[in-house]
Symmetry: C2
Subunit: 533 residues, 2 copies
């Protein structure tokens, strides 16, 4: 990405950085969903730029989010999958912001796993101060809630669960038993962890469910924030499973609103062994059945609709407080959901429903007027969000850390501003025995790397053939050309790009380019002249 910097712009005061979990781009009306109307997110797109080809850097929550929070690819930050600690050696958005007097707070989910081994090794006090914040991925946890406690789990110390109990939802695990379960005819709990109950309303009053609760906390934060500039990461757990939503959202959509699955019988013949492995997964087997799709997808749509309604409430509050004039808004997701496409459930691989996410950037400044309401087809990545946030606030780019590029040149329509030649997403199937063991791969040879350019999508595997899709002739990605002799040259070109990309990783974050450039002068000034006769 090139283009002039926007450093001459008046810096903004705040950033609202909204993320959904497991939200596919195509489940918003501004991205083309024919039945699910999301007027508030669409209105945000009308105020900003909607990026039509935005990609995540990891295809599971943890890896993707750590990329988005560090501005670095998964191979660079090293948190390769869910529940893998983010090394103390990584610098996050909050750590870039705080020295500039900007508060960086969290409402909702991050999936950050603390590097407690690293903290112990370095004698870091994780109970307070910088050490505590580092264990939170650099976010001040104003209201952290990562959710996902299985049925029967005794939840203690969670603010949302305590808040539910105060409102009479008495249980060891009110998150599961009320917010994420329905009720049977005899009052029995119908757990959302079983998808057959997805069409039942959650056993909770709508304002008490996760999405309104999370929105309330964001409003609380804005009310309390005062004069300190802030970046608020508002991070909804939904529409991530368990697929359960309270009334009336549980019945807003029905089987008729479910779009046909993108899949073909031919896809199942001679499939790539890793793809075959993921198709053996429970979620894939479930979502391959029409009954499951007809039951679950309307609820998934209801969850998205609820997010949209809550964002409408939040945006109205911000307008009433005049916060909208001083605040950059970024809206995105951490990855999508197969929902049965390609005979798959959940995520982990690299088809468009997973790696392509919504990304909207709304800049209230006059410099962005020319692009308001436009759609950009530039290839962009979620690692571009950190540099965008820093530039919007007038903070100099820490080049040695950031692998993303600010989106503001595109938003400000600078001459020459353009997207990337290709985008990258990574994942590992090391954690999935059902995939790994039949192939016989050791855990350290399970890394997968996707490169996608304007036409081609290429996925590299160790010791296995690649995948290749021609998105021009096959936009639904139904024909894997990874072993097709006619496409050897394309694969070679993509391999060469992967090689160059790997060499360009920011492996040296402890020294800034400017410090390197100044080295010879500093050496001379220090009187160091080596090898003189």
């Amino acid at each position: 990405m090139t283009g002039n910097s926007s450093s001459s712009s008046r810096p903004l005061r705040n950033v609202l950085f909204i993320m959904c979990d497991q939200l596919r781009a195509d489940y918003l009306s501004c991205y083309g969903h024919p039945r699910l109307h999301t007027p508030n997110i669409d209105a945000l797109a009308a105020r900003g730029v909607r990026f039509d080809r935005a990609y995540v850097q990891g295809s599971v929550c943890g890896a993707s989010r750590m990329s988005t929070y560090t501005g670095r690819y998964v191979s660079t930050h090293g948190a390769m999958w869910n529940f893998v600690p983010l090394s103390v050696g990584q610098k996050t958005l909050g750590e870039h912001l705080r020295p500039h007097g900007v508060r960086c707070s969290l409402v909702g989910k991050t999936h950050v796993e603390a590097d407690l081994e690293g903290a112990k090794r370095l004698g870091i006090d994780v109970s307070q101060g910088e050490g505590r914040l580092a264990m939170e991925g650099g976010f001040e946890p104003y209201a952290r809630d990562d959710g996902i406690w299985p049925p029967g789990f005794k939840v203690s110390g969670n603010a949302y669960c305590d808040w539910l109990r105060e409102r009479g939802y008495e249980s060891d695990n009110p998150w599961h038993d009320f917010a994420n379960s329905g009720r049977g005819p005899n009052g029995e709990i119908l757990s959302g962890w079983q998808m057959r109950w997805a069409d039942k309303p959650a056993a909770i009053e709508e304002p008490h469910s996760e999405t309104p609760y999370t929105t309330d906390r964001a409003i609380d934060f804005m009310k309390e924030a005062g004069d300190t500039p802030w970046v608020l990461h508002l991070s909804y757990i939904k529409p991530h499973w368990p697929y359960v939503v309270p009334a009336p959202y549980h019945e807003m959509f029905g089987p008729d609103d479910v779009q046909p699955a993108v899949r073909s019988e031919a896809e199942r013949q001679n499939a790539h062994p890793v793809l075959e492995g993921f198709r053996r997964d429970t979620a894939s087997e479930s979502f391959s059945r029409d009954e499951v799709r007809r039951t679950v997808i309307p609820t998934y749509m209801g969850l998205v609709k609820q997010v949209d309604d809550q964002l409408g409430r939040l945006f109205a509050f911000m307008r009433a407080q005049c916060l909208d004039r001083e605040t950059l808004v970024v809206f995105t997701s951490d990855h999508g959901d197969y929902l049965g496409d390609h005979w798959l459930g959940e995520k982990e691989l690299f088809h468009e429903p997973i790696v392509r996410v919504p990304l909207i950037v709304a800049d209230p400044r006059a410099e962005a007027n020319a692009t308001r309401g436009t759609v950009s087809d530039a290839l962009v990545e979620c690692i571009d969000i950190v540099p965008t946030v820093l530039q919007a606030l007038g903070i100099e780019r820490p080049s040695q850390w950031l692998e993303g590029e600010s989106l503001l040149p595109l938003v400000h329509a600078h001459d020459g501003a353009k997207g990337k030649e290709f985008v990258v997403c990574e994942n590992s199937y090391a954690f999935r025995d059902a995939v790994r063991l039949p192939i016989g791969q050791p855990v350290d040879r399970c890394h997968m790397t996707m490169l996608r350019d304007a036409r081609w999508k290429f996925v590299h595997f160790e010791d296995l053939p690649p995948m290749l899709f021609d998105l021009e002739s096959d936009p639904q990605e139904l024909v894997d050309l990874g072993r097709d002799p006619a496409h050897a040259a394309v694969r070679e070109q993509m391999l060469a790009r992967l090689f160059a990309w790997l060499r360009a990783r920011h492996r040296f974050p402890t020294i800034a380019p400017a410090a390197i450039e100044a080295w010879n002068r500093r050496e001379r000034e220090a009187g160091i002249l080596i090898g003189a006769w």
Copy 2:
């Protein structure tokens, strides 16, 4: 490297890990020097295995040492050159040892640059405890001394300088003015920073010079260490420049002992632009003159001879204390010195005089009897030292961190034990304006990577042709085949290896392979079943 583990061996108590600075392998008699007799190092080789093809991972001190101390390649640990901080995210030998009750202490030089920015970001107390040790690269600084204060520098707080002052060497910078300078006819200081004075004796009594002082501290450490197992990193600053040595070492060798420079006129024709750049360096221009070589090299030899004599004293002390029976001894260097070979001075590039270093491993246990006094031509690397040390002490290998392989299977002559297919060394010319600016490269495109297998040495540059040497037909590396059309296939093979090597970097150090393997079981036990109907 393969072979059975030596985990069944009785663990050793201690490790003495000796490093010289800027010592070429071929300046020891056991490695073939015809005039420089080093009987004490030769005797160590006779007690152990002398590795004839051992390579450093960086071609300057800082990067090389950080690889040796972390067991990780430069691209992995990120300290790309001298004075580049070692990230707090990196785990060092000492940090691997201490949780097992093993002390890891330093006498001498490490060149570790503290990651103070990282420490501040994480709220680490660098004045004490783990934080302080982390800033020392994981070593307990029993007697740290990195040397290298330019003439005129006011040295304060340095133990060696204070020790010299106590002995009457009164000066702001007694390190420079006495240990590293001679005297003229009128008592004037003849600075060792000017190589023309290299043949003058240092203005210091020999027992007060750096190498005996450092050896004294190592003996002090061993006397005081008591019953706690230890790893002592005894790290001599010498024979690194300033090339000055006290009497009688200054006159032990003369111009007749100087070996001919390895260089040819043809080498200067159509040379690689990076090589040309380094030849414009002051040290290269000086060492290209015979007068300089005749003056400096005898002193370099004297410095090596002094190290050998001091090691004789240390080994005698250890024998007298019976420490030799319980102590693994490793001897190596951080890189070599061109000394005029290839029309170059100093280091930074990848010819054998720089990247090939002495490496001797002496294991007192019976398992090593079969290899005592033998020479191994296995390709090995200095990142193999950390895993060797850990295995010798019976500590389980932390695979997610270590990129090296233990040398003990070779030392214990296990079936199938062998060296590596190729070794790797990296450097950057970003810090050298005289090289970089004429080429017009930005600082982030100056990384160089060498791969050397049994026959070929290949050096990859960004945006420039590679270098290629056939070590079988051209062991002196006088003919660069990097642009020779007849060798395109070899270059392709080396590029493919570099690509595979990059993909195999240990990018995910915060999770152990065993934890990944156990993931599915833990998930089931936690009651997490995703996507069930």
